[in-house]
Symmetry: C2
Subunit: 491 residues, 2 copies
């Protein structure tokens, strides 16, 4: 996939010897080559099978057993990228990717990330590269406005936002802050003493359980609350569970409300859950990893109803907002609770800016110490698209999902497996799980599209998520034709 045509117009240059640091000119030449390679990839990805067809171990075996003794020419590396690596790529950026949730991206975001890689600055402290901190703070404030999130999250008040790698890490940080608040920092000092409990719906993401285990609270102390017919957490059942724990001497620490569950994008009733939490003084974290992006549209902001009452919230611009991975946006309404739980200040990091109290040191807002300049991706993306451009594309995805839902409702052999809330349609074959399994297998079989499954109310279900950057109406239509035809054959 590499292409060098562009260089024909330039006077030939001597290659710098492999094994040596590149000078700026060599970087430029090689940079053009990789940009060309990627441009060609974007042009051709649609013609590739969405899913890699290789067998376990093939790529591992194709790579030499030992690192090279001497440096190799850049052309050899790019050639192996095509030959060895590309057959093992499952193409998340394929226009007919409808699997899991998207991890979409965009040209401006990719180039912003390139600037970040090149500048190579560390933003662990304000002092270590002030722009890395201040652009991030402003971008997280922009996102509050873009999504119509409550002012409680703005950095200009008591709250504030930070970029985490993933929603998993955001949940863990929320949990640590919640736990310290609930125990008045006894855990921080002396370790967990006596049982604590965490609450989320049965449909919540697996990262809640993972966080509970990492934090040492124990899987048995995660209460998975029942959901209603639409797979939304039942606030009444939540209250009962909290009361029972209190009666048993167990300290409730945090409730996680999911705004857009992984299986079906069900939206938990945040306002009602918040009322339960508020009464008991329990930290409420809202996880809108995928669905949050929908709120760029005013008509979709109902998904965030009650959000002014939560303690923390996150969504992933790296899923559906054209910002490449990793970029999870995480806010708290009381930044001091988060910072107190995560701050450690050794001598070698002391500096006058930190001591002035006038700056944010983001290392105190997450697990890692080091951090790269990720907010550039948000800046480039929001500026390139503008609010209007983002709304246009997100609105298209949701409306195409709506049309697909209509088609399912009208189909003789298919049925909706769950209500559609944003850009995900869940369907099943009327003949049951085995037919649905076969349906998924059939539509995925020739590699022109890719959908995945979930379990919904103990049924096997096909999920179709429409959120790719390059996905057009025609790709959704073609997917539907395959689904329709396969379903009729089974029916």
């Amino acid at each position: 996939m590499s292409e060098q045509g562009h260089f024909d117009e330039k006077p030939p240059l001597e290659d710098q010897p492999a094994g040596e640091h590149w000078n700026a000119e060599e970087f430029r030449r090689r940079g053009y080559q990789v940009i060309d390679w990627l441009a060609r990839y974007f042009e051709t990805v649609e013609s590739l099978p969405v899913c890699s067809q290789i067998e376990p171990g093939e790529i591992f075996a194709a790579l030499p057993e030992h690192p090279p003794a001497s440096g190799e020419p850049f052309e050899a590396i790019l050639a192996d990228l095509d030959k060895i690596v590309m057959p093992g790529i499952t193409h998340w950026q394929h226009p007919s990717w409808f699997a899991y949730f998207n991890a979409n991206t965009s040209g401006p975001s990719i180039l912003a990330d390139l600037v970040s890689s090149g500048l190579g600055v560390q933003g662990m402290l304000w002092q270590t590269s002030p722009a890395c901190t201040e652009v991030e703070t402003r971008m997280l404030d922009w996102l509050v406005e873009l999504l119509g999130l409550p002012d409680t999250f703005l950095s200009t008040g008591e709250g504030g936002g930070v970029i985490q790698d993933t929603a998993s890490s955001a949940t863990l940080c929320a949990l640590v802050a919640a736990r310290e608040r609930a125990t008045n920092f006894e855990v921080d000092r002396s370790g967990v003493d006596g049982p604590l409990a965490v609450y989320a719906s049965k449909e919540a993401h697996s990262s809640v359980e993972k966080s509970v285990r990492i934090a040492g609270i124990g899987q048995r102390n995660l209460r998975l609350i029942d959901t209603d017919d639409d797979l939304r957490m039942d606030p009444g059942a939540l209250r009962v569970a909290i009361d029972a724990d209190r009666d048993a001497g167990i300290t409730p620490v945090m409730v996680v409300a999911t705004i857009g569950t992984t299986a079906t994008t069900a939206i938990d009733p945040v306002r009602k859950i918040a009322e339960v939490c508020f009464k008991s003084g329990i930290w409420l974290h809202a996880d809108a990893a995928h669905a949050g992006t929908a709120a760029v549209l005013e008509e979709m902001r109902w998904i965030h109803d009650g959000l002014e009452l939560v303690d923390s919230y996150c969504f992933n611009p790296h899923k559906w907002m054209f910002v490449n991975f990793d970029c999870n946006a995480f806010w708290v309404r009381d930044r001091s609770a988060l910072v107190r739980a995560l701050s450690v200040l050794p001598e070698y990091l002391r500096n006058s800016a930190t001591e002035s109290g006038k700056v944010i040191d983001y290392r105190d807002w997450h697990i890692p110490l080091g951090r790269r300049f990720r907010s550039l991706k948000l800046w480039f993306t929001m500026r390139h698209y503008g609010v209007k451009g983002l709304r246009r594309y997100i609105s298209e995805h949701i409306s195409w999902a709506g049309e697909l839902e209509e088609r399912v409702l009208e189909h003789p052999d298919l049925e909706l497996a769950a209500p559609r809330t944003v850009n995900l349609v869940c369907l099943r074959h009327r003949l049951g799980d085995e037919a649905t399994r076969q349906l998924i297998e059939t539509v995925n079989a020739d590699g022109t599209m890719f959908v995945t499954h979930a379990a919904v109310k103990d049924c096997h279900v096909m999920r179709i998520c429409i959120g790719g950057t390059t996905t057009g109406k025609e790709h959704v239509d073609r997917a539907w034709q395959r689904i329709d035809s396969a379903a009729r054959k089974l029916g």
Copy 2:
């Protein structure tokens, strides 16, 4: 810093309207622009003040309060990158960067990261992009050979390696695995019950304390063990502390040995520490975040003496091995202990490859679920430089540090503040802390170089770390001239 000259040779193209997805041709044009911008940055960075001179809040204030309603031209974004962001950059890639530890990078690594951003694949499961997993497994095996690490870490045995974002996260993962092993997974099920303890030297990194707090073990249960005159952990004191805890009914969970402490790169005696741990069945984690890279040189492998006895180990190619952030390489000798502690498998992630048991799913090796294709950076970098190229540059850094050390030893007004082990020299003024403080301030004052401080045996100390990609002998010499001259004036 943007430069468009290159495009003069091409037929003029219409700009795609701002706010729309780019086609491949637009990506190519804009990509060249950003490559040019970075090449120009590399050419000019030496002429910029190392540290940003801005005041807290300046950049935040210079950015508009609201996201733009409509998309903006790419030229406007690049112009603001120069105007607003660059004055707030502290240049970690400046050749006269001697502060903290380096976070160095290289052309091949930056371009590999660009490929990763562009492909935009998720490697949470083998299934979701097999190459992302298998290249990583092979690269971590290559690193074992490159650094002469024990075979116990190879993926072909019971162990294996994984890329984490930072050493902080690696420590936390090691701690979670260690804790579950020590408590026979009681914590995993029911939460921490009864006090646990963790051990590290007084010179260990702050991330050990942070991990202990996040895991709910409590800061009081972190034992900071005394060090010897050379600031290395005292294995005798460690044994005493462990015995005392056992006598008091406290369960020892993990010992962290530091191979290259942050203040002075002291090397803990891993073999002796391992003997203590082995007897008590305590998990031993070795953190070589910065210094590990030195082991590309056979004559430096003494730093890893005893490593075949540890349970887990990590170092950061993103510090000193010309791989851009983030890339921490973390190994365990028993991967099942790690995976058992971190694995959660919901229905929507089930797949036949996972169930076959023939593949690695790296999401079970760290905190996040999503993961990008970071091993490309290791692949491009190791192939471009080869073992020989890496040895050459690392060896230069160490030998320049050695020469600097000699100069300090011969200087009338300066003294070494700690033994030099790799590429870090710690010195102080003979007149004491205040003079050392002034010395640091003076050499940093005109922005042509940057060093930071540490506390060593209650003294204020200047640290000079020599590990920049663009740092040459001449930069070290110039830094020495400034230090020498400032020291004499104070003296």
